[in-house]
């Protein structure tokens, strides 16, 4: 039976068929027919944001905390261009999004019509795939294909551009099972290569698991299998910023995050290992430091669903193309079948070495009784929220790195941060997206005042939808990470890196209709955090912290893992010209 309906109606039907319950969006002229259909139904909830960038980040927060694709609906022209930052953010972090944009009617395309932009042209390099739908008969099929491509293989954002006349016209609805996509990425890894890796694991004396966002994207089963594999082999494990939570921070095999601001023990173990097993990470430049000196003595396995990630930066001795959960399942099965062998004596020595690195206590900092140290603020936040049903979002900068260092993640999908693109302004809308998906949970956005101001308009969204997000702002009145780099490599010339004329965050909170809390004294911090947690509604917490604290440990740009800086005393003249050119 063929079903005839308008294009606008098809959009809603296709979203329903895909099981979509929430859409983040902002109306405008070119999407009015779709908004009219939204008005006439109750199954899909529409969240009205305050800026289209916020819609995309909110959808990212929704997607990352649920594992389901996030859906965005915005208008043509500025609606679409405002969404671009979010698209690139999702592309870099492999977050599945389906973004629907309105477009001027087909007969006006190319005429520089009002609110016309070449949306598919602008977003082609910002999406995994995009489409301009010129025929209503193809509309619903394209949306189903869009969901398939956003979620299969390496996930990513896709965009469907919908001209207004296509929304008004009537056509034939194509249902999900009728759409056959040729896009079917391989999920099973090559068994012979997995067997070779298992053999290397049996012989390894200094092995390490290096995991990334791919474990989380692969789904909860991947995290479960990873935990099983780590426990069974007794190998140490570290993770990128994107992979936090796939192995619990409380686990005794956990070395902490690695990379530029990663833990000493994690980076040294990466440098000195003899077998590196990369599971769903991509040898990002924040991780490798100087390529030529990256883990010089190790054989490297790389498990990734995207073949182009393999050998892109680092040569893989054991390249395995496949979905993390599928490959881990095979690894475990083969390792068990071959007799569960490890070099236990060598492993004991390896752990002794790691314990010596751990004893350095690289996250130590000098606390103060008069001023709140940002690390202390996060330690208290961790202590007072541990064990709760908690989700953390962040903005980008020093606070983000401190959050990754000082907060512990026990489960996947609990940590929302802009990793690849480093988008300031991500956290406020992302935290709202998380809270919409998990209304009963505790959702905290750990922010810096600079990033937070970039998308603070979304507090209006939080208030409107009664999303009780907690905005925990570490306010140092500085763009802290910029300031840190200027101190270390631009002769302490602090060009435009402090925030003058900051708003009064408590009054700002009241103006938005939420609660504002100001805390300046370490002695008041616990009570203030408890007040934030107990308040049933959105809170803006202005935590005034030490202004000149630097984030350590740090691998200076262009340096190797074993050239980490542990504190202020080691920073003199370490960054040379070759490193300064890097970001």
């Amino acid at each position: 039976m063929t079903r005839q309906m308008t294009g606008a109606k098809m959009v809603i039907e296709a979203l329903k068929e895909q099981g979509v319950d929430t859409v983040f969006g902002y109306p405008g002229g070119a999407v009015l027919p779709i908004y009219d259909e939204i008005f006439q139904q109750n199954e899909i909830r529409h969240i009205l944001v305050r800026h289209e960038q916020g819609a995309v980040h909110a959808a990212e927060g929704y997607a990352r905390s649920t594992g389901k694709p996030g859906v965005v609906l915005v208008t043509s022209g500025p609606g679409a261009t405002n969404a671009v930052t979010g698209l690139v953010d999702a592309l870099m972090d492999s977050i599945p999004l389906v973004v629907l944009t309105g477009q001027v009617p087909t007969f006006m395309i190319g005429s520089d019509a009002f609110q016309e932009a070449d949306t598919v042209g602008i977003t082609r390099p910002c999406t995994k795939m995009n489409w301009l739908v010129k025929d209503t008969d193809k509309l619903s099929g394209t949306i189903h294909e869009a969901f398939h491509i956003a979620t299969e293989g390496r996930p990513g954002p896709v965009l469907v551009d919908l001209p207004k006349d296509v929304q008004f016209a009537t056509g034939t609805y194509t249902s999900k099972p009728q759409v056959k996509s040729h896009y079917q990425p391989r999920v099973k890894g090559d068994t012979a290569m997995i067997e070779a890796l298992v053999e290397a694991m049996e012989q390894a004396e200094r092995p390490i698991f290096y995991t990334g966002g791919g474990v989380i994207n692969s789904g909860p089963k991947a995290s479960q299998l990873l935990r099983e594999l780590v426990e069974a082999t007794g190998f140490p494990i570290t993770s990128t910023l994107m992979g936090l939570g796939s192995y619990p921070a409380s686990g005794d095999k956990w070395l902490g995050m690695l990379g530029m601001h990663g833990l000493y023990e994690a980076n040294l173990a990466m440098h000195d290992c003899d077998l590196m097993i990369n599971i769903g990470a991509r040898f990002d430049d924040r991780i490798t430091g100087r390529i030529a000196d990256f883990s010089p003595g190790s054989r490297k396995a790389h498990i990734d669903i995207d073949p182009s990630s393999i050998n892109k930066v680092i040569h893989a001795d054991f390249p395995i193309i496949g979905d993390v959960a599928h490959v881990l399942e095979d690894m475990l099965r083969i390792w068990k079948a071959r007799g569960r062998k490890t070099q236990s004596e060598a492993l004991t020595k390896w752990w002794e070495q790691i314990d010596q690195w751990r004893a350095v206590k690289c996250l130590r900092y000098t606390n103060s009784e008069t001023v709140i140290k940002p690390q202390y603020a996060l330690e208290r936040l961790e202590a007072l929220t541990k064990g709760r049903d908690r989700y953390i979002a962040t903005e980008v900068g020093q606070h983000q790195m401190w959050a990754a260092q000082f907060l512990g993640f026990e489960d996947p999908n609990r940590w929302m941060t802009s990793g690849g693109l480093g988008t300031m302004g991500y956290g406020v809308p992302a935290s709202i997206g998380v809270q919409i998906a998990h209304p009963e949970a505790l959702v905290i956005n750990v922010a810096g005042e600079g990033s937070w101001l970039m998308n603070m308009q979304e507090m209006g969204t939080a208030v409107q939808y009664r999303a009780p997000v907690k905005q925990f702002i570490l306010n140092n009145e500085r763009l802290g990470m910029v300031r840190q780099w200027q101190e270390l490599l631009h002769g302490e010339r602090y060009s435009h890196s402090w925030s003058e004329a900051l708003p009064d965050f408590v009054k700002l909170a009241e103006a938005f209709g939420c609660k504002g809390i100001l805390c300046t004294d370490p002695a008041d911090l616990d009570d203030a955090i408890m007040e934030m947690l107990e308040y049933d509604g959105p809170v803006i917490f202005d935590c005034v912290v030490e202004k000149h604290e630097n984030c350590f440990p740090m691998i200076p740009s262009g340096k190797a893992h074993n050239e980490m800086l542990l504190g202020e005393a080691e920073t003199q003249g370490v960054i040379q010209e070759g490193g300064a050119v890097l970001v």
Binding site: V120, G121, R124, P125, K128, M129, N130, L132, I149, G153, R154, H182, Y183, D285, T288, G289, R290, I291, A292, D306, P307, S308, I310, N311, K312, V313, H315, L489, H490, G491, S557, G558, E577, G578, G579, A580, V581, L582
Partner: protein, 186 residues
């Protein structure tokens, strides 16, 4: 602090240097890319090359399967072996790309391009132009009293050689298609 005297490309000690640990030799490869013939697919492929800083030495595209909506893009590109491998992988993961073949790696292949060469000349030079055209098996497809248009098909090297011989004989204008290539044998 001294100014940063960093030459462009001198990143052998930087985190972004992806090449020093592998072969530095720049190779030329011919890639055949079978794509879904849909709006924007060529822009997508070209955007990949410009966005990631890869070279395009020549590019041809035309539909090869009307019913299946397939087009074949032949790209001649150059780079270190690692860059060539990346180009191939990046092309393969594009949604509308069905198949990528690196003809240079996969065995012997034939590559041809077509050129139209207009030579404006008089007297002895016209005779000489015709004689050279005969040696190169180029056809005359248009003629006036003061000009010829030759059509030549062959490898890019053959076309280059023909053009070089024509230049001293008059005012030369040139239109080339770029390379189309296909593997030899079954």
């Amino acid at each position: 602090m001294s100014p940063l005297n960093i030459e462009k490309g001198s990143t052998s000690h930087s985190a972004y240097d992806l090449r020093s640990h592998m072969s530095d030799e720049v190779e030329t490869h011919t890639l055949a890319v079978l794509v879904q013939n849909e709006a924007g697919v060529l822009a997508r492929v070209i955007g990949l090359f410009s966005g990631r800083g890869y070279n395009i030495e020549s590019l041809t595209v035309a539909e090869v399967d009307r019913e299946g909506h397939r087009s074949r893009i032949t790209i001649v590109t150059s780079g270190t072996p690692q860059v060539i491998q990346q180009i191939r992988m990046q092309l393969e993961r594009m949604v509308p790309v069905h198949e990528v073949s690196d003809l240079t790696v996969e065995g012997p292949f034939v590559s041809r391009e077509l050129a139209l060469i207009k030579v404006v000349s008089k007297g002895e030079h016209r005779v000489e132009a015709l004689r050279i055209a005969e040696i190169f098996r180029a056809n005359v497809v248009d003629s006036t009293l003061e000009s010829f248009v030759f059509e030549i098909t062959g490898t890019p090297e053959k076309v280059d050689a023909f053009c070089e011989l024509m230049r001293p004989l008059g005012d030369v204008r040139l239109a080339r298609t770029g390379v189309a290539a296909i593997a030899r044998g079954l």
